[in-house]
């Protein structure tokens, strides 16, 4: 079979797009196949944030934020990139202790951040309720509009896009649902939650999330506001959970999240979950209750068991590479994922240690080197 490109990338979301762009930048001819399904890139908040639940997550998100800052000047307006900072909110002394710990960890890693006391918090964000303990501002976190950013990335020279559903993968060959086989030097699987349709062995589970966006109320919020309870409620709970996450869009609208549910693939907006999520947000910002919500929707995060993505060679399929399982951090970590993937494909030393993200941690050691 004659190769149709140097690399086939499956999935035109933010991860597939970043990988394709990085591969094309190395002079490779890249074919991007996308089934046109509703993915996490279109559904998510586009929050760019440093997270430090573990050293590997911190390393990946920190490197990626740096890469976004380098990319930012080239992004068109439609990508709506802003470096507005994340303000982590501590409701009580216990959460403030978490903020202080985070502060130490991030400072040690050279991440610009500042602790904010209770009174100063409301000076910075007057819409927050009185009585919050304080917060931690991560100055260089940001936001962007991920669908437009993915599209911009895919406009790079050397990238061909095709709307097609892949029905099977065998190493460096893929079969489209019309029966046609395509091959390339390498195939990169970057189709998020749909990855298990093609590789059932991947330990990826859908984690449903709800979001709501308000009408335009310019100037009401500056930073992305996230409760520190998020660290515990969202990551450690197995049942449905919500956390306050309020993001000001450049349009003056507010994005309100976040919810997490396992064990469902039903995309319907569920009223009780939406209400629970909004209630949490109004507990931090009471004035939200009087604003109009204009749209609500859901999406599915592709969650791996340890919360880290799978980036690297598929240990049991020669020619197949993985860039999946980013959960809620796909937009944040897309450039770093692309760096890791390209370095491994070219046999180079990656800009950060690749080991924590290698697929063999779940799939066993490579059978073929």
């Amino acid at each position: 079979m004659k190769p149709c490109a140097d690399v086939i990338v499956i999935g035109a979301g933010i991860i597939g797009a970043a990988c394709a762009q990085a591969l094309a930048a190395r002079g490779l001819r890249v074919l991007v196949l996308d089934a046109g399904l509703h993915g996490a890139t279109a559904a998510g908040m586009g929050h760019l944030l440093v997270l430090d639940d573990n050293p590997a997550e911190l390393a990946l998100s920190k490197h990626s934020l740096q890469r976004w800052r380098e990319i930012a000047p080239a992004l068109p307006d439609s990508c709506a990139y802003r470096s507005n900072g994340t303000l982590w909110l501590a409701a009580n002394a216990e959460e403030m202790a978490v903020a202080e710990h985070k502060y130490q960890v991030l400072r040690a890693q050279g991440v610009a951040c500042e602790l904010v006391g209770g009174p100063a918090l409301r000076q910075r964000e007057p819409a927050l309720r009185e009585g919050l303990e304080g917060g931690l501002l991560i100055n260089q976190d940001g936001i962007l509009y991920a669908p437009a950013t993915a599209r911009w990335m895919l406009q790079a020279n050397g990238i061909e896009q095709r709307q097609a559903r892949v029905s099977a993968i065998e190493g460096n060959q893929v079969r489209l649902d019309d029966g046609q086989w395509l091959s390339a030097e390498a195939v990169v699987l970057a189709n998020g939650i749909q990855a298990t349709d093609l590789c059932p062995e991947l330990p990826i589970e859908p984690k449903k999330g709800h979001l709501l966006i308000t009408d335009r109320y310019p100037g009401s919020v500056t930073h992305t506001l996230v409760e520190l309870g998020y660290v515990t409620s969202a990551h450690n709970a197995s049942g449905p959970s919500t956390a306050c996450n309020i993001q000001p869009r450049p349009t003056g609208q507010l994005f309100i999240g976040a919810s997490r549910q396992f064990g469902t693939t039903d995309p319907a907006v569920e009223g009780w979950m939406l209400a629970r999520m909004l209630k949490r947000a109004t507990e931090y910002m009471p004035g939200l209750a009087q604003l109009n919500g204009i749209r609500a929707w859901t999406g599915f995060r592709a969650a791996s068991p340890d919360g880290l993505p799978l980036v690297g060679r598929h240990p049991r399929q020669d020619g197949l590479w993985l860039a999946v399982g980013h959960e809620g951090l796909g937009v944040t970590t897309a450039p770093a994922t692309a760096d890791l993937l390209v370095a491994q494909l070219f046999g180079e030393t990656p800009p950060l240690a690749a080991e924590p993200y290698l697929p063999e941690r779940f799939l066993g050691v490579a059978a073929c080197a």
Partner: protein, 418 residues
């Protein structure tokens, strides 16, 4: 807070909703009649300081609103489904849930508003839109008006405007003269219907004429028309332009009701494909207020189990369905109307998305993500219908909130009892 309970919940207090309420009230059923307008009557019987209601409307309204079994909730919108047979609604003050045994959708129709250069200028409205605004007190005395688009609504709108002192400088009907004349010739078969306003002999009425552009910089100053093949410009203060009606089927669709063409599909009892949910009036297909009245009455009787009373109205319904068919045939839209928008014409007025940003996409969802078209407060009610007409894209199914709603109202969804 526990939901309000009712036997029959009627959404929409236009002719269909009022007739449904009156029919259902002849039983002992408790009825809640909900409408997002501040006054009952719908579009055709909209009341206000500059409205003139027909006697029939006045008396029906009085009988319904004065009926002890009927609770009228004006200024109230449906926001979401809140579990089986339960809707979340909102008025200016609060949000609450209503649980019903039977639901009758009388959600009416809206105008098809198609984009053309200048249509976002202040001074440009829908055709029925202008009529509604005038009835509610919009001053038009001594203003020069052009009314354009398609259908008998243009003449009804012109009549209201004239009555309130406006000067009608042109009525531009896109349909060809032959089609309209054929329709007019059939009107004697349906006495009373529209004859008071429908006249081909209005001095300013032109068939085969459609708008090309609204002219002006900060507000409307004139209109460019394609008038029977010639291009003419007319100075005016207002342009009222609507290209016929599209059914408000979103709520029904969200509840799972099947559609037929774009309307809610119903059987002989006006029952939709969902058990216990009925539809009547324009949301189940166009036909004007007489058809809406008879459909509403059938739905109201059927919802309370009075099937003989409902069936007795079938002949009358069939007669007005004939009128609806003649109407829809006569005013079919000229394909040239798909070419009105130019590259920089805004299609989505909420997000200011131009035509050029949409053309070339394969479908609604993709175009929406790429351009933000339809992501604004109207939730694609205006631009979604326009792109369906222009590009044939199917708008996505409605999701809650069905209308912009206070977050406080959405919090009421937490106590869903399933």
């Amino acid at each position: 807070m526990s939901p309000e309970q009712t036997d029959v919940l009627i959404i929409g207090a236009g002719p269909a909703g009022l007739a449904a309420a009156l029919a259902a009230a002849s039983s002992t059923a408790r009825i809640v009649l909900l409408d997002d307008n501040p006054l009952a009557g719908g579009q055709i019987w909209r009341d206000g300081p500059q409205a003139e209601l027909p006697e029939q409307a006045r008396s029906l309204r009085e009988r319904v609103l004065g009926h002890p079994n009927v609770r009228h909730c004006p200024g109230t919108r449906v926001i979401a489904s809140a579990g089986p047979n339960t809707l979340l609604v909102e008025d200016a003050e609060r949000g609450w849930q209503i649980r019903y045994d039977k639901l009758i959708l009388c959600t009416g129709a809206r105008e098809l508003l198609l984009p053309f250069p200048g249509w976002t200028l202040p001074g440009v409205t829908g055709a029925g839109g202008l009529q509604a605004l005038i009835k509610a007190g919009l001053p038009v005395r001594d203003q020069a008006l052009v009314i354009a688009g398609s259908g008998p609504l243009l003449l009804a709108s012109a009549a209201t405007a004239r009555h309130n002192g406006a000067r009608i400088v042109r009525i531009a009907e896109q349909a060809a003269r032959g089609a309209v004349a054929g329709f007019a010739a059939q009107l004697p078969r349906w006495p009373h219907k529209l004859l008071q306003s429908f006249s081909l002999f209005d001095r300013q009425y032109r068939t085969g004429t459609h708008v090309l552009a609204a002219l002006g910089s900060d507000r409307l100053e004139g209109v460019r028309l394609s008038q029977q093949g010639n291009i003419v410009e007319v100075a005016c203060d207002r342009l009222a332009c609507g290209f016929g009606l599209i059914p408000n089927s979103q709520l029904g669709q969200a509840l799972g009701c099947a559609l037929e063409q774009q309307a809610l599909a119903v059987d002989g009892w006006q029952a939709t494909s969902v058990a216990g949910v009925y539809a009547a009036g324009e949301c189940s297909g166009f036909g004007g207020s007489e058809l809406a009245l008879v459909e509403g009455a059938i739905a109201g009787h059927a919802a309370v189990g009075e099937h003989p009373a409902a069936q007795a109205l079938w002949t009358r319904r069939a007669r007005w369905q004939g009128f609806a068919r003649a109407l829809n045939r006569a005013f079919a839209l000229n394909p040239a109307l798909k070419a009105l928008a130019t590259a920089d014409t805004l299609v989505c007025r909420c997000e200011d998305v131009a035509y050029a940003e949409l053309s070339g996409h394969v479908g609604w969802r993709e175009a929406k993500l790429a351009s933000r078209c339809g992501m604004g407060a109207c939730q694609g009610r205006v631009c979604g219908a326009a792109v369906q007409h222009l590009f044939g894209w199917q708008p996505s199914a409605p999701r809650p909130p069905f209308s912009p709603a206070r977050i406080e109202t959405l919090l009421c969804l937490e106590d869903i009892s399933s």
